[in-house]
Amino acid sequence: MKKIILVVSIFIFAAILRLYLLDSMPPGLNADEASIGYDAYSILQTGKDQYGKAFPVFFRSFAAYQSPLYIYLTVIPVFFFGVSIFSIKLVSAVSGIILVVLTFFIVYLASEKNKLSLACISTLLVAISPWSLFFSRGAIEANLALTILAFGLLFFILSFKKTVFLILSFIFFSLSTYAYHAERVISVLLIFALVAIFRKYFFKQRIIVFISSIIFVLIMLPQLLLIFSPGSTKRLDQVNYWSNSYYEQNNLSLSPLEKIKSISYEFISHYLTYFSPRSLFFDPDPQFARSLPGLSVFYIWMIIPCFFGIKNMLNGGKLNKILIPLIILSPLPASLTKEPFYTLRVLPLFFAFTIIIAQGMINILDLLKKNYFKFSLLFFLTAFSVFEFYVHYSIFFKYERSEYFGYPYIKLTEEIKKYPQYHFTVDNSKDTLYIWFALFWKIDPVKMQSQTKFDLDKDYYNSVSFNKESDIENVSFKPIDWGKVSSENEITVGDAIAISETQAKEHGLISIFEIKDYSGKVALTAYKSNFKKN
């Protein structure tokens, strides 16, 4: 009974950490999250996305062709709670909570020694780890993908008791490919690896393996039919380091042999980065929207149990035989891209590492003889970690990165409403601003679709060019036209780079309102002509 209470307490604790002030910490959405929200709203209202495509296999969004599952699932909270920051992030938060629960069962069923202790500590570490907390509190497709992948792992482990569970396992592995791009590679490789590792068992069940594989392929079929379309490959085209366009953009002229050397060097260096203690425990993801200032994916104290855990991993066992291919394969898709240490693409790696760290913790706790000391140490580490996360998330991230969760632009959507008689031009050089307005003004999707269809120069999955300019009600999103800024009913909005004080003076503009970011610095200024009618 005590053990059940302990386990349930960890689940509740994880849920609180993920749901508490979900809509206001941080107080905003980035452009991708806003696009997810608007597409979900559009699907709910019309059965079509913002471009008028009915139930797409990939959502065009900003011509990056996002995976669809998160958007379709977001329709549910949008239906119940309306369009809001909470409803858009809820799917990821719930995925994060479910992942914590799944961790317990995966570790409990797969481990041989210290089953309950290891399962509890693994669950606790997933509940409090920065990577899990941070990505559970944003509208993050990769977080959903990881949870679905974890379902696949759970049913895979159950298939050793009843082989029919293998079918469910493959179903979930296949579904994860609809949640995030990286899983399209990870799931396929993982299935091959797991069946190969446990081949002695699965060879006897080859009919079930065959049926499961067919089901896996059938579920993936809609994606497979589009596999060579620009829509399917666009994301990879944008982020790789081996295509001709990459070399042209970087003014590199290499012979074929030099190219092979360069690509191999890049691949190895990127792959190794995902295993570097510096990346895992110290340096955050260099992209500000995907990381917390000064906090990496694991807390720094976790480096010690990590080394103990790696030693444990070499002892084998069913759990480690499942974790090892997950660790080796997860960074492969990310290593094919030019960004160093792109955390979203390797969440399965962090999941596996968290369980490894838990194994190391067990070794360390075994050095303490009395239970009282063990619980005290765990309590202290948990409290310290949650406090550290609070500082980096609720203080540093909120104050220093408010532009990355759209805070100034969301404020702008509220402020512009006070000036219905004016036409606004908002400088859009930094981001795809129209989406915040479409979302928070709840622009009729039919109206939006009639406008955006002109962005599609070819059919839906082949229209890879994207035009950031847009018009929504009395607002135009485009570069500033200095010829028009002095018009009577025109208000121009931009940051200090788009409109400097000197430029404003030169064009006879006066500031009528300012939007400050969370730290109090002016993020956007709205200018109107100083022109007075005689």
Binding site: S269, D283, S519
Partner: protein, 214 residues
């Protein structure tokens, strides 16, 4: 033969020899001793290993110590200074008491710099790939080992983990500890890791040779 390959077949030792020959000779000695110890622990060699390491550390630390290495850079100051207000608003009395303010103002920078120096050394890319793709601004990055030795290093590392010897484990912990006091901008790199890296590479080479002989 393997000991010589592990110790001398890397650009790092020649780079150090070109700039600081005495330090290079010490490092070669440390490398040879640590490889001998991993093969067969001996009290005298262990004593020599630790003494030489700490002596070298004291020499390098005292001769290269710069106060500025333990202060925030101007770029870091721009980030850290506004945080006093952020902490005050976010933490209130937890931050604005005497102890917290003393810690933040006088102690925190040293702890952060020490952790930064320590953890940045624990990066395989630092040794095999000149820290690519996460090169550190303001630090001269250079290749220490040819990439061909990476698989042997990995093999040797895991081989060591399977049966970690106490003495060498203690030596690794000592190296990690003292390296944190040496600035990341030290021109010869994280030299105290030289014997450790060579030992792992040696173990990897030895393992591969055994497999080939089988």
């Amino acid at each position: 033969m393997l000991i010589l390959i592990a110790t001398f077949l890397n650009p790092w030792i020649f780079y150090i020899f070109k700039n600081k020959p005495l330090i290079a000779i010490c490092l070669i000695a440390l490398s040879l001793i640590s490889i001998k110890i991993i093969q067969k622990p001996q009290k005298k060699l262990t004593f020599l290993l630790f003494c030489l390491t700490f002596t070298l550390f004291l020499v390098i630390f005292t001769s290269n110590f710069k106060k500025t290495d333990w202060q925030y850079t101007p770029t870091e100051e721009k980030v850290v200074t506004p945080r006093h207000n952020e902490f005050t608003q976010g933490l209130g009395a937890i931050y604005t008491n005497k102890l917290s303010l003393k810690y933040t103002k006088d102690i925190k920078v040293y702890i952060e710099k020490y952790i930064q120096n320590t953890i940045e050394n624990l990066d395989p890319n630092l040794f095999f790939l000149s820290s690519h793709p996460r090169e550190r601004p303001g630090v001269y990055e250079f290749e220490k080992y040819w990439i061909i030795f990476l698989p042997f290093f990995i093999l040797g590392f895991f081989d060591f983990l399977k049966k970690p010897g106490r003495i060498f484990s203690l030596y690794i912990v000592s190296v990690i500890f003292i390296s944190g006091f040496i600035s990341r901008t030290y021109s010869q790199g994280s030299i105290f890791y030289f014997p450790v890296m060579n030992t792992f590479i040696f173990l990897g080479l030895e393992k591969v040779l055994k497999l080939i002989k089988k």
